[in-house]
């Protein structure tokens, strides 16, 4: 029973275009969400986060959108660069405990 879903295992985008990575969750108690990026043979690195009191958070080329009613969030990368090629994990957390729940990841390939 996956509480955090990333239904696209992979995504290919041309350099310079927008990459949109999607994440759906089932637990309405989740109120904090993060995106991590993972290169091969390395641990995940934090990318951007959003609290449930917001519906958008922006950091440079990365923007995360949260739609609480749809239990959906998305990560937009614009413009996409070849160095963005990695696996992106969505993670969710409740307002107590430290039990982050991660999605299975989406592998992004940015083609030059």
């Amino acid at each position: 029973d996956q509480q955090v879903k990333q239904n696209s295992p992979s995504l290919s985008v041309q350099e310079g275009r927008i990459s949109i990575l999607n994440c759906d969750y089932t637990n309405s108690m989740f109120d904090y969400f993060l995106w991590y990026k993972k290169y091969p043979a390395e641990g995940p690195t934090f990318l951007i986060s959003i609290s449930s009191i917001k519906d958008k958070n922006e950091d440079g080329r990365f923007t995360v959108f949260l739609n609480k009613s749809a239990k959906h969030l998305s990560l937009h990368i614009v413009p996409s660069q070849p160095g963005d090629s990695a696996v992106y994990f969505c993670a969710a957390n409740r307002n107590y405990g430290q039990n982050f729940v991660f999605g299975p990841g989406t592998r992004l390939s940015v083609l030059p």
Binding site: Q2, Y32, G43, F46, S49, F89, Y96, F100, V101
Partner: protein, 115 residues
Amino acid sequence: GAGVSQSPSNKVTEKGKDVELRCDPISGHTALYWYRQRLGQGLEFLIYFQGNSAPDKSGLPSDRFSAERTGGSVSTLTIQRTQQEDSAVYLCASSPSDRVGETQYFGPGTRLLVL
């Protein structure tokens, strides 16, 4: 100033043997987490430490799994009587505190293969 380190980076073991995985968190980080990632799946939370105590062990899959942390620093995850389904990448992360939403910094992981 180094990041989170884990050892060994790779471990191959026979079914039924015990293994120990080590995590060195970032200096000064009080919170430490263990996750595992099976092939094609997301990260699965195992256990979290605040200092040397483990307030949340809810993710440990069976009593064959245990973890300890000493001196508020190094942590060891022990898997007894390994099974083939234990094969996964085991990731450790640390964070400066256990405040809700605190960013976790991950190590490179230990790839465990149980034959």
